[in-house]
Symmetry: C2
Subunit: 408 residues, 2 copies
């Protein structure tokens, strides 16, 4: 509970979630609001209307990030919350939108009670967090913190060849503000967990300590395609079998962490041909950079050994690599204390997925609040979180934002 005894109005928050969820709604459930699509524009329009109605100053920057400002008593760096309203091709209505709309609910609550915070508040919606249409993901927040140049971001293209900058102009969200002009005093993002841990442990609130480092690597084994009937086992150079062995090795290596072989592509991929070539991807994540590097080294060694044992060529390349991000200890404490004060079960935990907050952490003290995802399902129309959990998360966002906005 915050010092002012305020709580959010869950029915109002749920109404906005449903209303935004109707924009780009898919037949049979779920949301398809790919970044810079017509549905994204309609969602942005709705969000900006709500911001105006709440008396926020709306600022849109050149990469399309939307910021709604609420004045504070002081003219100083704001406390920012936010997330994104773009979705994967067929996602749920909570991923991203929940955090943005909970931010609006915090503002609405403060407006209703005529509360003026010391620091200004900003509710942000960052462009193209999902990366489902334009790569990389977390693009808007990445540009905001200077991790990618504006021109590179505008020049990215989707699979149809459409340029991001052109699409941004087309939907009317190529704003005039300079990306990164706002340096928040603190950043706090509320999000669904997108994993099964909170639900499995019966815990309502995650005080997110950081984001796992990510290592994506592609391995390609090169052997010899041969006839499955006429080639004795000892004379084979089976690249598909090597890929299978590496997939099994990855599971052994990462038993205490997470590691995933998501793609396996033997070639020619025919029932009666020994695969002459096989490609697989290895996704390793860890909250500790040293342990992530150790896992990378062990997987690479396993791949080398498998290739050598089967007389195969081996090539590999990095597809993505991010070091782990540690959130601000004071903000993590603040989330845990706020959960305690409202009597919600909570635990400290890492984020397995990437979030805009990890980008903002480069320029400001940052943190996140997680609420449970039922069955851990995410990026799927079946994504769901219990109403009482959504309400609890939004109240904690209110509490933490008030604390941050009143801090010296």
């Amino acid at each position: 509970m915050n010092g002012r005894g305020l709580s959010i109005d869950y029915a109002r928050l749920a109404g906005r979630i449903r209303e935004l969820g109707a924009v780009g709604a898919l037949e049979g459930g779920g949301v398809g609001r790919l970044a810079l699509s017509d549905a994204d524009r309609a969602g942005r329009d709705l969000l900006v209307d709500w911001m105006w109605a709440l008396g926020l100053d709306v600022e849109i920057d050149a990469i399309g990030n939307i910021f709604g400002w609420r004045e504070g008593a002081e003219i100083t760096a704001p406390v920012m919350t936010g997330s994104h309203i773009d979705s994967v091709r067929a996602g749920g209505m909570l991923d991203g939108a929940y955090g943005v709309l909970a931010g609006l609910e915090v503002v609405t609550c403060l407006n209703d009670h005529a509360v003026t915070t010391d620091k200004p508040l900003v509710v942000a919606a960052f462009t193209n967090e999902e990366g489902a249409r334009f790569h990389p993901d977390m693009m808007g927040s990445l540009v905001h913190v200077g991790g990618m140049s504006l021109s590179d971001a505008l020049d990215t293209r989707d699979t149809a060849g459409l340029r991001l900058g052109d699409e941004l102009t087309r939907i009317g969200y190529a704003g005039g503000a300079t990306p990164g002009a706002i340096k928040p005093a603190a950043f706090i993002e509320l999000h669904i967990e997108q994993g099964p841990i909170l639900e499995a442990e019966g815990i309502r609130i995650g005080a997110v300590e950081g984001v796992q480092g990510i290592s994506w690597r592609e391995y390609v084994f090169q052997g010899q395609a041969n006839h499955a009937g006429t080639t004795p086992m000892r004379l084979r150079r089976d690249a598909g079998l090597a890929a299978a062995r590496l997939a099994v090795a990855v599971a052994d290596i990462v038993a205490e962490q997470v590691g995933t072989v998501g793609e396996i592509e033997p070639a020619p991929n025919l029932v009666n041909v020994v695969p002459g070539r096989a490609r697989l991807t290895v996704d390793l994540r860890n909250t500790d950079e040293a342990r992530l590097q150790e896992a990378e080294a062990r997987v690479a060694r396993a791949a080398d050994e498998i290739a050598a044992a089967a007389d195969l060529g081996l090539e590999s390349r990095s597809l993505a690599r991010f070091e782990p991000v540690a959130f601000d200890a004071a903000i993590v404490d603040s989330v845990a204390r706020a959960a305690e004060a409202r009597g919600h079960s909570h635990r400290r935990m890492p984020s397995g997925a990437g979030h805009d907050a990890q980008m903002l952490a480069r320029i400001a003290p940052a943190g996140m609040i997680f609420v449970p995802s039922i069955a851990g399902i995410s990026h799927n129309p079946a994504e769901h979180t219990a109403p009482e959990d959504l309400e609890a998360g939004a109240n904690l966002l209110l509490d933490v934002m008030l604390e941050l906005a009143e801090a010296p």
Copy 2:
């Protein structure tokens, strides 16, 4: 050496191989003569012209099999040789064609020396042995021996939806003869090994004892697609990992035989998603039916155990199943004796690939002669066999056909 002291003319045989190999020749090498394509028609036209020129009676049956008859002294069941002239999409010029043209060379040699055999001789080219365009493979010989009805065969369609019967009529090879009307006294097929065994052992001639039984089975593991970053290993139901484990298990199970996982298809096949579903194929072959069944049972058990351990659903279905075929012991002996007589190194061996001879074995004593495939490469433009090996094989075909045609 045969009793008449005859040998084939390799230059003439090689010339016909080159000439037929030019029909459907691919840029950069190799042959694309898919069954009932325009190239197949052109190849058939050339073959029939050669048969006519050699004075053979040409008979074409309703499934398009071509038979060139050479009269014998007796009116009785003929000794038949043959193979096929269709190819895979990008194959070599020897697979199939070598056996048919060596048969023509035997006839040419006998004509040149005015030899009349006791029994008639028939040189056959069976329709759609490869199965690369219409399924199943070995179709023409299968229909010939009554293993598939003519109407079912004519009603098969290629991936473009074209009906085999229509294509057969289009290229002018829907013949009037009833399939299976010819019951040979014996059948002998000369073919490249399509495997590496003869070359690896430095042996020129394979006396083929039989054809491995084939078991093709598809396994599908069904788990739960999950986020690769947020889903702890213990909560995963990773179907892709299960497929990899089964592929490794197959290699262990079949160490003394052959077994191949040619296709692995995880879904959704994305770098950052734990595969929720994975499909793989298992190709098992053995010359012994009991051992083939044992391998099938062990693979099925491994799949069950892997699925149970990871809480996955499992479905499987047979894609193809042929029991091993044993060739006629007297014909196998005859091939070995003939190789001995000409001073060629030889060994008894199974065929790893399927051949028309295994179908003919259902209705007649049958056998095969193998010559080495360099590096075991087959179904590939790089397919190659040394000239001296091709010559040796054709001479053995002559010797064995003469022996069979003079037998009581």
